[in-house]
Every structure is written in structure tokens, then in C-alpha cells.
């Protein structure tokens, strides 16, 4: 097997350059690459285009990169929980491209599966369709959407092995597997890193071929956005 292990988050992201496009896995604050975000904050790389379903909250997740003005453009489906985000957007400091969540996921998958474009009905007849090629198949109209082209994908998994194989836990899976497939270089941080051979080949969610660098992260906060409970 090919060993994909790097020492830590700083090593993993060390060649990310100002102005590059990076994907960041997660849905809200669930399943986000906390260690790599911290390393990006330390590296102070700027003018990033970030492809991520959400933009974190003011003081956690991608929100921290926004606080440090490291993000030039966000490509997301929902960005609603972030006051600093709103300020930068309204002041023109931040570009935002909002796209449907399924389109976001499928444009990642297209990149990982070598498909140059995909067709989706999402956004037909809306402002999302402006400037896009449309086509009718079986009497239904679709938009043609391009595969993403991102220099780096940064994902978070639960377990991983030294060969780069990844297993996600529960709904922290979300965008991570499709982004893992889509980066020219894919960086994975995991809660538990094991030697190759300890994971069941049938249970791998992301095969190691898609993962270029892997390390075991630490100090996961895993903040909850909406703590909803019922009483016993």
C-alpha cells in the first residue's frame, strides 16, 4: 500500500497558496475539518475561494477564516448563521455565489467521477439559471452545471488508515465523501488513524486513491448549532 500519512495539519496544508480554490467538507458545523481550519488560520493564506455548503458561524468553522479576511469568495448553498459574513458581503469585501445544495454536491461528484458537466432541474426558471445552458430531456428542463475544479479538498472523517481509506460517522458524512473525490489534492483529517489492514474493505466510504494526505487530528470541539432535546 501507499502511505499517505503526514505529520499534522500544518504539514498537510503547507502548499496551499493565496488565491487558490479549496473545498471544505461539513454541513453546518457537523463534520468540518477543525484542525485544518486552525492551520489555515495560522498560515494566514488569503484570497481563498472556498467551496463549502455553509460558512460556519461567527466564531467557529469557516467563520474564523472570514474573521481573518482570508476568504475572497464563498461558493455555498446556505450561509445564514454568520453576522461577520453578512457584514463583509454587504460591504463588498466578500463575493458569494449561492447555488442549490444538490447542485453543489453533484458538481463535486462530477469532478470525482470525471464527468465534465451534469444536468439538474434545480434552479430552472430562477435567477440561478441566468447565463446557464438549459436543455429539455423527456419534456423536463435541466440546467447544465460544470464539475468543480478545486486545487485542494479538505475533509474530516471519523476513522482512516495509513493508505488513506476513510470511514465517516453518522451525518458527519454529508459533503465529505464527494469533496474527497473532487480535489486535485485531497487532505483528510481523522479522529482515529489506524494502520492499513485494520479497516474492513467493505466498509470504506472513501477509497485511499482519492486521498493524498492524511493525519490524525486532535482537540475536536464538535460544536452543536441547534441543541434540540426531549425530556425523558
Amino acid at each position: 500500500m501507499i502511505n499517505k500519512v503526514v505529520k499534522d495539519a500544518d504539514t498537510a496544508i503547507k502548499d496551499i497558496q493565496n488565491g487558490q480554490t479549496i473545498m471544505l467538507g461539513g454541513f453546518g458545523l457537523c463534520g468540518i475539518p477543525e484542525n485544518c481550519i486552525q492551520a489555515l488560520l495560522r498560515k494566514k493564506v488569503t484570497d481563498l475561494t472556498c467551496i463549502s455548503n455553509n460558512a460556519g458561524v461567527d466564531d467557529f468553522g469557516i467563520g474564523l477564516l472570514l474573521q481573518q479576511r482570508q476568504v475572497k469568495k464563498m461558493i455555498s448553498s446556505y450561509v445564514g448563521e454568520n453576522a461577520e459574513f453578512e457584514r463583509q458581503l454587504l460591504s463588498g469585501e466578500l463575493e458569494v455565489e449561492l447555488i442549490p445544495q444538490g447542485t453543489l454536491a453533484t458538481r463535486c461528484m462530477a469532478a470525482g467521477y470525471g464527468m465534465p458537466v451534469i444536468y439538474t432541474p434545480a434552479g430552472v426558471g430562477t435567477e440561478v439559471a441566468i447565463g446557464k445552458e438549459t436543455r429539455v430531456f423527456n419534456r423536463k428542463e435541466y440546467l447544465m452545471e460544470y464539475a468543480f475544479d478545486a486545487e485542494f479538498a479538505i475533509v474530516k472523517a471519523w476513522k482512516g488508515d495509513t493508505a488513506g481509506n476513510l470511514i465517516y460517522k453518522s451525518t458527519a458524512r454529508n459533503f465529505n465523501p464527494v469533496m474527497a473525490m473532487a480535489g486535485k489534492i485531497t487532505i483528510a483529517e481523522v479522529e482515529i488513524l489506524v494502520p492499513a489492514g485494520e479497516l474492513d474493505p467493505d466498509q470504506i466510504h472513501t477509497p485511499g486513491i482519492y486521498v493524498h494526505r492524511i493525519f490524525q487530528g486532535g482537540n475536536y470541539e464538535k460544536r452543536i448549532e441547534q441543541r434540540t432535546v426531549r425530556i425523558k
Binding site: A122, Y168, N174, P177, R230
Partner: protein, 218 residues
Amino acid sequence: MLDKNGIAKRIAKEVKDGMYVNLGIGIPTLVANYIPEGINVVLQSENGLLGMGPFPFEGEEDADLINAGKQTITTLAGSSIFDSAMSFGMIRAQKVDLTILGAMEVSENGDIANWKIPGKMVKGMGGAMDLVASAQNIIVAMQHVNKAGESKLLPNCTLPLTGVHCVKKIVTELAVLAVLENGGFQLLERAPGVSVAEIQAATAGKLLIEGDIPEMQL
């Protein structure tokens, strides 16, 4: 006139045994509380879960297990987890039988606007555009009029659209209405104590009233 829970309760009657259902944020979420005993329904959460269960007991929250509203939830016996591409794949392939979501406006030809108010902060469409573009059966749960007292059932939407020609049925605090294939809101049921005239007054789009309009059974 219904309160939010009343709207949810009425919509729950549209949920049939064996359905896979996606519930939007707000009133639609409440529908889960009123699904009758003996009706087997599977709730899809578009962040990657089939078989969404109730909120966890206090102290049992799992940060890795949330719904599309970012609320902590639970799984059920028979649940499955998948990635976002498969989640919207099954939505696009119309495997999800029923989508229930809120709206700011619905037009008489079934257009829906629920994601953006120009000039105000834009939060994004999330999965709503995918859901309304793909679902075969879309029910809107909303108030009949907005806070300014203006009808939300219009000849044409004034806000940026989420999807076109897709809403099949609307349940409000006043009425149940079908959106007709050739345009127009057909009044199906009145909320308890609400008159046809009140509904007519609150509906800006074309309203079709045929015969006696029954009162809702809740």
C-alpha cells in the same frame, strides 16, 4: 382559523402509509408530530439520512447526528446514512414521495418563492431548489397572508423564485387549496369557523370555488 400546529395536523393527513417524506424547516417539521399511529413513513433529511427519529434525550445529543436544520436528532431502527450526492440523487430521481415546505409566496400556476428577499440579507436556497424542482408531490405549509396583511397566494410571485410550476397543494391557517394544472387555486377545504368569503378576501390569485366547500376534519 388554525394555528401552526393545526396546519401541521391537517398536512399530516396527506401523509400516506409507505411514503418517504422530506420536511422543511418551520411548520413542516411539526408535521412529524401528527402522523397517525399505524402509518409507516420514513423521513428523509437531505444532509444524508433516511429514517429521522425524534430529538435525543437530554445528555444524549451527538454532534455528528443532525438534521438539515442543524438540530440534534436520532436514528431509528432501519435508518441509513449516505453522502450529499446520493441524498440529492434520490431526490432528483423522485424516490422521495412527498415534500412539505414553507413559502413566502405561491403563484396560481404553482411557482414558489421562499429563499430570498432582495435588499435584505440573503441566506441561500439550501436544498429547496433541488427539492421543488424534483419532487412530484409538493405541499406548501404557510400563512395565507404576510405580516403586512397581503395575500401570499398571488397571480404571479413578486419575489425571486425557488421553482416554477411545482406546488400541488397549499395548507394555510384558512384553507386547503389545490394548484390546478392550468393555473388557479381550487378551494378544497375551509379551516374550522372560516368562511369562503374570508378565504376569497385573503387570496389575490385566481380562486376557484366549486359547490359546497367542506370544513376540514382534523
